[in-house]
Symmetry: C2
Subunit: 405 residues, 2 copies
């Protein structure tokens, strides 16, 4: 595989990413890079929309509907219907609303099942909700995946899981787990943070009830760009547990009582950042016309090439890989277990190979089909091998911890 024959359908998109030429960027699973369109659109929103049109921008540029229109862009990529996804707030807030809606929809069941190694915020939020509702009203069980796979779900209100595990890159069997939980009468809530934009989650086809995610990883919306919330159309009669004016049926009537809007809009609460939503929308528009299947195929070709290169090099061949090898079980990252993972990740970064580290010993390599190329793989593996061989990571500067790892 050479760079010239890699994913020609994506060549134009790739050219628009403004990644510094001295960097091999393998951290799109944490923060996607800047695309020219996102920069240009954001500047235009600042200058031409806000700057020139001021308050009139809410009508003239339809800012008021951005959570829905950007939500529809996300909907296509996660296999949902238009009107089933909102882009707003952040994943954590959306999860709080989704869990509360699930409990309401599945009354009188009160049990939330999550995975013990779920992304921490997902479990903190579930526990926070349970604490708020009080004993007897909600209970959270964080179980190992193997146990979840055997559960009969007959007393479970909602199963809350990550589609791709953030530590290991293990992709869970979304169709099978959804079906199993639903056959026991539970609803299913998927966290798509590490799969949106690289794996077809086919939410409608898989009859998924609820989902949340973020736009700052493989969707390239920018640091801290908005989260998203999917509520299947059949569940949109549920209440919004944080009912604000933006979800009201007639926002500018300023009625004393809350009347929820019809459809997904009722899950909005407060005013959303127009700049943040516009940047996310511009980043998403880069994907217009690109099939999610193409992205998944390219992602797998990249991670396959990385595994092959690792195996081919005598220095790296023996490294433990936490990510499952079968395509069906693999997300869009490869996680290596390295006892000296922190300083090794810092040494890679110093050489321009941008990866990240997760406690206690995991180095993550993310593969983004939109901009990564086979040459990135070759450079990353060569750098890793050299760093291990020379033990240069033992230098004290690589052992100083950053605030964000």
């Amino acid at each position: 595989m050479t760079s010239t024959d890699f994913a020609p359908a994506l060549a134009d998109i790739r050219a628009g990413f403004e990644i510094p030429p001295d960097k091999v960027y393998l951290d799109g699973n944490s923060l996607g890079p800047l695309h020219r369109h996102a920069r240009e659109k954001t500047l235009s929103v600042l200058q031409d929309e806000w700057g020139d049109d001021l308050i009139a921008g809410w009508n003239k540029h339809d800012w008021i509907n951005l959570p829905l229109t950007v939500g529809n862009q996300v909907a296509r990529l996660v296999g949902a219907n238009p009107g089933e996804v909102l882009c707003c707030d952040n994943l954590s807030i959306n999860l709080f609303k989704a869990l509360a809606a699930a409990l309401q929809l599945n009354t009188p069941r009160t049990r939330i099942v999550t995975e013990a190694t779920h992304f921490p915020t997902d479990n903190y939020i579930a526990e926070g909700l349970a604490q708020l509702l009080g004993p007897g009203t909600c209970r959270v069980d964080a179980l190992p995946l193997a146990e979840i796979e055997q559960l009969d779900f007959s007393d479970v209100a909602v199963l809350s899981l990550a589609h791709v595990d953030f530590r290991t890159g293990h992709r869970r069997n979304l169709p099978a787990l959804t079906q199993r939980a639903q056959s026991g009468g539970a609803l299913v809530l998927w966290d798509l943070a590490h799969s949106a934009g690289v794996i077809d989650t086919a939410l409608s086809e898989n009859n998924v009830d609820l989902a949340v995610g973020c736009t700052y990883k493989f969707l390239n919306g920018g640091p801290g760009s908005p989260g998203f919330l999917y509520v299947a159309q059949r569940h949109q009669h549920a209440g919004n547990v944080i009912p604000g004016w933006m979800g009201h049926a007639d926002r500018f009537a300023f009625e004393a009582s809350y009347r929820p809007a019809q459809g997904i809009g009722r899950f909005l609460t407060g005013t959303q950042s127009v700049i943040a939503l516009a940047a996310a929308g511009a980043a998403l528009s880069v994907l217009d016309g690109i099939d999610i299947g193409t992205l998944r195929e390219c992602s797998l070709r990249l991670s396959d090439a990385f595994l092959a290169a690792l195996g081919d090099h005598p220095t790296t061949a023996g490294i433990e890989c936490l990510t499952p090898t079968p395509h069906s079980d693999r997300g869009s990252q490869i996680s290596l277990r390295l006892p000296e993972g922190y300083p090794i990740s810092q040494a890679l970064i110093e050489r321009g190979v941008i990866v990240d580290f997760r406690e206690p010993d995991i180095v993550r390599f993310g593969f983004a089909p939109l901009y990564n190329q086979p040459t990135d793989i070759d450079q990353a593996v060569a750098a890793l091998a050299d760093i291990i061989e020379t033990r240069c990571y033992e230098a004290s500067r690589f052992n100083q911890r950053n605030t964000v790892t």
Copy 2:
């Protein structure tokens, strides 16, 4: 009063606002205009920080602490101490957290008192929280202000009020109401949406317990820019009802259990938009070194001039003004009651005098000391008088309702 002698201390700041020259902008109470610094900083965050430094930006540019650092900028303007304000999410979400914290802090009291004509979202959120907690655990009473002023508060957990009424521009007596409620054992939560940046709320001096607000009005952070949350230092042991990873004591340890951070940071939940926070921070930095007392004084001079000009013109002299005349009772807007308010507001906007309308018959004129000048007042009153005299507002184009009013 001529433009040349108006607020010379603010002349440099005024010159930096990029308001189109054909517009008289009197809607800063709804959406502040773009300042050059905000545009430049946002572009730099996009291009130089996100674009060039990618994931390293979280450490290198201290993105991770933006909610605290921008919060500290707000703190100075609302009379709070550093470490008492977070800039994050939006007003509605922050209010939900603040109300829940108040109930927790004031256990076993369960009664929330709000004003019947409070900004609707504030009451929707309170009702939503009460519904979530269930009967017996929380009750919301929305009362007229006159009744609140006589209440003994002996069974009230928290009083939730707007400092300045969004419809009438009536400024409430924050020190007296705070003291009265607290003397009955209640906590007090102020919504500062219409006062932050134009009135010294002196939160510490007035011993205020909790407050929320937004940065998109008189703080000029941009459309939908982040909200803020003030929690007095003495109350920061309260829990965050939506506990997410950003409020964890050690975010990147990814611990299975939630351990709240010390201080205001624990009230964070999910990842915040760096672009939105940076724009808000840049807009706030425009105010560095400017005393809030100066801003209040200039605001009153502008609204005084507006009232005088209205009174001087035979066509406008008889219009009913909903905003109280005493300075102590006036916010930074003047609200006129006009039976044909909607088409009149649209006719003003067509002539470049940007105001807004609130149901059923209120036209609001906002006064922003940072960029409004006496000439704006003269032009606005002349346009209003002419529109009323010529009845041009009767044209059908002025009667077509916009989505956002």
